[in-house]
């Protein structure tokens, strides 16, 4: 349509712009951005894949897939996948379960809307280290939480919340929540309230409206939030070290990759672990998208416009 308009106006000599913009030249502004992605993202990725297929050191003669065989053959390395999954999956699910009703209810303003949104978003600025340091003190044996629980006689001895699985779990839940909430809020605000009103008029109860109208319309948002959250939590690194037990139950896969690269200087092995990470994530994202398509097919932002 744009082109047609230009044709009609572009006959006069006073309008040179359309001619220059027609065809491939109009796409030139894309080139620098594309080059950056190709050189600094696609190429390294391919380089990493290639690197992982050329084992070095003791594995050099053990065949193309020796790095992968070494990773999956070593129980300690293999365990890092499980260690990561048992953090990433529950954190993602729990954040979704908490954020979903909030985002749905906040899609139209409540009194104090700005303050509420602000409070929920602020953890974004805390940063992993401040969160970790604060958690070590807040949840520590002499921290406020244990003091409070002791004072209320809920517990007899201080509970260990940090330097274990619980610490990393809590840290991820807090740091990951704002993004999940914002994605869901974005999608929830895009749903036309008239759809629900129509369902109501037609006699649907709130449970029926939730199940048959709201949730299907929110499915793309839930999928996007789940995918983003999983990608972020699956690559957890600093909090697994600072508030976790990096030698034991929170030795996550990112840590395994880092140790291969920077403690053993085995870049091929590290690249292989990175590729395993990427593969697991792509599988998860594909599963989420497949589930989304089962739940709802239609425009990405449902119902309005």
């Amino acid at each position: 349509m744009q082109r047609a308009v230009r044709h009609r106006t572009g006959e006069g000599a006073a309008v040179p712009a359309p001619r220059a913009r027609r065809g491939g030249a109009a796409l030139l502004p894309l080139v620098p951005a594309l080059l950056v992605v190709l050189m600094l993202f696609i190429y390294p990725f391919a380089y990493g894949l290639m690197l992982s297929l050329h084992p070095q050191g003791a594995l050099a003669k053990a065949g193309t897939f020796a790095n992968y065989a070494a990773f999956f053959g070593d129980p300690r390395e293999r365990l890092s996948i499980w260690n990561t999954l048992r953090l990433a999956v529950p954190v993602t699910l729990l954040d979704l379960v908490v954020a979903l009703p909030l985002a749905y209810r906040l899609r139209r303003p409540l009194p104090g809307q700005r303050v509420i949104t602000g409070l929920l978003v602020i953890p974004m600025t805390l940063g992993t280290v401040l969160l970790a340091e604060g958690m070590i003190e807040f949840f520590g044996p002499a921290g406020w939480l244990n003091k409070l629980l002791l004072a209320l006689h809920i517990i007899g001895t201080p509970v260990q919340f940090v330097h274990n699985y619980t610490g990393v779990f809590l840290s991820l839940m807090i740091s990951d929540f704002p993004a999940v909430f914002l994605v869901l809020l974005g999608y929830a605000s895009g749903i036309d309230p008239r759809l629900e009103q129509a369902a109501r008029t037609l006699g649907a109860g709130w449970w029926q409206r939730l199940l048959r109208v709201t949730l299907p319309l929110l499915a793309p948002g839930i999928a996007a939030a789940a995918a983003l959250s999983f990608v972020a939590t699956f690559s957890v690194f600093p909090s697994a070290v600072l508030v976790g037990q990096p030698a034991g139950e929170t030795r996550v896969i990112a840590l395994a990759a880092w140790q291969a690269a920077y403690e053993r200087f085995d870049y091929p092995q590290a690249s292989a672990i990175a590729m395993v990470m990427a593969a697991i994530e792509l599988v998860f994202v594909a599963l989420v998208l497949a589930a989304r398509n089962r739940a709802y097919q239609g425009p990405t932002i449902g119902g309005r416009g």
Binding site: V15, P29, L40, R105, T117, V129, P193, L242
Partner: protein, 281 residues
């Protein structure tokens, strides 16, 4: 329209009581405030043994952090990296976003996916080979290397935010300017830029926040002289025991205040929802 008629359906559609929203948000806020205050009070405590509050207060840990962790230098590096990454990402991403918003061409969805892909893949997966590449090119450990790796996730963010922003601008404005004889460059400078400036400012501030917070890539590439605040903080916290925890907390508080100031500035320009995706109103 009569207000009393308009109101009820809206209240119904929203559904039910709201106390639980305040309760949930309150609980979350108390938890986060407790964590932050624990760190903050520790950073201004001369000693804190077992009591509910520190025994006495001091500012010495901030002075200690400035001297011991070279906080001034680290902050300067962080600002240089953040600003350079922001400017370069905007310069690369804005033209791309404009074309993606205005042109329909074969392969557009694929190209958009390609340009956004670096945001969907965790940094550590491509960061390790990228770091290996940069070390081979003798850029590892340098300031330039840190800037380069930070552009990779930042530029897609510009494309993601600015593409819908340009879509919302009425194309008739540009057509009118062109009909009146303005060159494409003049249209861009005099028509598009003024309209897009708030969006670019918001995108820029958000990239700044993210570049300052981005840990993994900087961690993989930076050397002793090119650490940003997050990475310096991580090393300080990782080597806990060598340095007093109060000094680490002081540094972390400086970090949070920087990030919070930028976030609040960004919130003035942009609805927080649009930070992640766009909402059609």
């Amino acid at each position: 329209m009569n207000r009393s008629v308009a109101r009820p359906p809206r209240a119904h559609a929203g559904g039910g009581p709201t106390w639980w929203v305040y309760a949930l948000v309150g609980a979350f806020a108390v938890l986060v405030a407790g964590i932050f205050l624990s760190a903050f009070l520790n950073s201004i405590a001369s000693t804190w043994f077992g009591g509910w509050l520190p025994d006495a207060y001091t500012t010495k840990w901030y002075r200690f952090a400035i001297a011991e962790f070279d906080l001034g230098y680290v902050l300067a590096i962080t600002i240089v990296v953040g600003l350079t990454v922001t400017i370069v990402s905007l310069a690369l991403g804005v033209p791309a976003a404009y074309v993606l918003a205005r042109r329909a061409f074969p392969g557009r969805p694929l190209l958009l996916l390609l340009l956004i892909l670096p945001m969907l893949v965790p940094p550590i997966t491509y960061g390790i080979p990228l770091a290996a590449m940069l070390y081979t090119a003798r850029l590892g450990g340098s300031l330039a290397g840190v800037i380069i790796v930070n552009i990779v996730p930042a530029m897609p963010f510009v494309v993601l935010i600015m593409t819908p922003f340009f879509e919302q601008i009425d194309p008739n404005l540009e057509r009118a300017a062109r009909t009146l004889g303005a060159s494409p460059w003049r249209v861009f400078r005099r028509v598009l830029l003024p309209i897009a400036l708030p969006g670019m400012l918001a995108a820029g501030l958000l990239i700044l926040v993210r570049a300052i917070a981005l840990f993994e890539l900087t961690f993989l590439v930076s050397g002793a002289k090119s650490q940003t605040l997050v990475v310096a903080l991580y090393y300080a916290a990782f080597a806990a025991g060598i340095r007093p925890s109060q000094a680490i907390d002081a540094m972390a508080v400086v970090y949070m205040v920087t990030g919070l100031a930028l976030l609040l500035a960004a919130l003035r320009f942009i609805n927080p929802v649009n930070m992640v995706i766009r909402v059609r109103q």
